[in-house]
């Protein structure tokens, strides 16, 4: 069985021999860009869905500046076992889900202002958190000790909640790890959380819906919310989000260790997001034993190609570039075609070339033609708005 991992720096994907990857957190060195990053392997036994980490060493006061070098954690993080409603097991490595449940792409890769859930999305009902059975199992509200910052880290990917927990626990914060939107809301309410860090495409209740519920709850008026990218593709050009849907700040996955603790503190202490204008990322590696590092470094293998789980996104990107090229080189035809309703006829040859080309780069099992068509329609819609043309084709 293969263990899949992705380099957060260059996006290279690796398929590792599962038996050689140690359980827990390990460090992996990318053979392409030499970036060292964290991977997490779960045990074969089911883990509780809610895992709470507390600082393993004397708790630093929240005001303390986090150490510039990530300290080592010699033992696994402490997990608080809380009885939860049964949930299906999750894959060891969380790739963007492609199941029936709609996934909202809400990463900084996306222009947040244009975000909307898919039309056919079965948006989980906000009534879910009121399910008595779930409520009864919720932990009682907890007293904050020594003014410690209480954080809920909600992400469907356990390696992300692990990284968040790791970073914030070292900064003296109390972190509860959650993997589902409904549970995230419950935990925020029951613990009167100071900060909730939300993945946007959480199962059962989208992150932005959790955000709405928190905002509507007067008892959580002090709670600050940080959105985390649900999909992060460093190879893709990103723009700053223009809307955070009521959240106070956002974080990209690769800045969890070097930026998140400061972001959380800044929100709690000042109520405002951290100004990162002059932020320079520092090199942090996640804490694992040297032995585990050697073990994992030894099993670096060739990047995945044909089975690349992100192949779909790459294919879509390629489609966008092809269409962008076609339109760029045919500006006059586009204008004429849009006005006369003949745009597809005028571009027929170029579209055919585009299709032939994308077929040479995209595996057959992916619907390259559909991607190209969608990209073309999207660009044409934009162009129609630019040209103020109202007709549809």
């Amino acid at each position: 069985m293969a263990f899949l991992a992705t380099c957060p720096n260059c996006d290279t994907r690796y398929s590792l021999n599962d038996s050689r990857v140690p359980v827990g957190q390990s460090r992996l060195k990318c053979s392409k860009c030499k970036e060292i990053f964290l991977i997490t392997k779960k045990t074969t036994n089911a883990k509780p869905k809610v895992e709470t980490s507390t600082p393993t060493t004397p708790v630093q006061p929240p005001e303390a500046t986090p150490s510039p070098v990530a300290p080592k954690v010699e033992s696994p993080v402490v997990e608080q076992s809380v009885e939860k409603a049964p949930t299906p097991p999750e894959p060891a490595f969380s790739a963007p889900e492609q199941g029936t449940e709609p996934q909202a792409d809400f990463s900084p890769d996306t222009d947040f202002s244009t975000f909307s859930a898919p039309e056919n999305a079965q948006v989980p009902t906000p009534a879910v958190p009121e399910t008595p059975a779930v409520k009864e199992r919720s932990p009682a509200p907890k007293q904050k000790e020594n003014g410690e910052i209480v954080v809920i880290a909600a992400n469907s990917d356990e390696s992300i909640t692990g990284a968040i927990s790791d970073a914030l626990t070292k900064a003296g914060m109390k972190v509860t790890r959650i993997h589902d939107g409904v549970e995230a809301l419950e935990a925020a309410e029951s613990q009167s959380a100071d900060v909730v860090i939300l993945d946007v495409s959480l199962p059962r209740l989208y992150g932005f819906e959790v955000c709405e519920h928190i905002r509507d709850n007067p008892e959580l008026s002090h709670t600050k919310i940080i959105l985390s990218a649900s999909v992060y593709d460093e190879t893709r050009y990103k723009r700053k989000p223009v809307s955070l849907y009521g959240a106070d700040d956002y974080i990209e996955k690769h800045h969890i260790h070097d930026l998140l603790p400061d972001k959380v503190k800044c929100l709690v202490e000042t109520g405002k997001p951290l100004d990162t204008t002059n932020f320079k990322p520092s090199f942090h590696t996640m804490a694992i034993s040297e032995e585990a590092e050697q073990e994992v470094l030894a099993v670096s293998e060739a990047p995945i190609t044909s089975t690349d789980p992100e192949g779909e996104e790459k294919a879509r990107r390629l489609a966008r570039i092809i269409v962008s090229d076609i339109l760029l080189y045919n500006a006059e035809e586009i204008t004429e075609g849009l006005q006369n309703g003949t745009v597809f006829t005028l571009l027929e040859d170029d579209i055919k070339d585009g299709l032939s080309f994308i077929r040479t780069r995209v595996p057959e099992e992916l619907p390259a033609e559909t991607y190209l068509k969608e990209a073309l329609e999207e660009f044409i819609e934009k162009k129609k708005v630019e040209l103020d043309i109202d007709q549809s084709f």
């Binding site: 190879t235 893709r236 050009y237 723009r239 990107r317 390629l318 966008r320 570039i321 092809i322 962008s324 090229d325 760029l328 080189y329 070339d353 585009g354 080309f357």
Partner: protein
């Protein structure tokens, strides 16, 4: 790889202008051609269509000074930027001595810039060349357009290694010669290393 003609005492160097479609590669060469002393330049060959699409390449020879008694002649090439013509791009990179990556500063072309940059690195690798070792400069073109990406952001995305870079507006000539002079300087420095 520079070609040395001992009988003519000439060193021929190849500089390739690389970048996504319609980013301004040919415009760079046009400006250089128009503003260069007629004695220093050869005929500019442009295999382009009436729609300005470079189907194969543009080529411009330039004479620029001597090294140890050898005349240096620079051959400037552009590649077809459109994503379809990868085979041509790969061919033109063969034996390259210096590269100018012309980036289109417009927001809507950022994906294309990144794709072109990745493609360039791959094609160089296929020729056994490492972008970190080839004389290389970046030009952020079309700075006069409306919806453009700030230079700091362009640097972050397209120039992580911090190679020399320039802002330009190739249509009116801004930044074109600065870019050329620096890449030529880097190529000459490389030649002198091996001289």
């Amino acid at each position: 790889m520079s070609f040395i003609n001992y009988s003519a005492r000439e060193i021929n160097c190849k500089i390739v202008y690389y970048g996504p479609g319609l980013c301004g590669k040919t415009s760079n060469l046009n400006v250089i051609y128009k503003k260069t002393n007629p004695d220093s330049k050869g005929k500019m060959i442009s295999l382009a269509t009436e729609t300005e699409r470079t189907l194969f390449f543009d080529f411009l020879p330039l004479a620029l000074g001597d090294i140890k008694g050898f005349k240096t002649r620079f051959h400037l090439y552009t590649v077809p930027g459109q994503i379809f013509y990868d085979a041509s791009r790969k061919l033109i990179l063969k034996g390259v001595d210096g590269i100018v990556f012309v980036a289109d500063s417009q927001v809507e072309r950022m994906d294309a810039n990144m794709e072109s940059l990745d493609n360039m690195e791959l094609n160089l690798e296929e020729h056994g060349l490492d972008i970190k070792k080839v004389p290389y400069v970046i030009q952020y073109n079309k700075r006069d357009m409306d919806d453009i990406v700030p230079v700091e952001e362009l640097r972050k995305v397209l120039n992580p290694n911090g190679v020399p870079d320039f802002e330009a507006c190739a249509m009116d000539g801004t930044g074109v010669f600065e870019t050329l002079k620096l890449v030529v300087k880097l190529v000459l420095a490389e030649l002198k290393k091996g001289a």
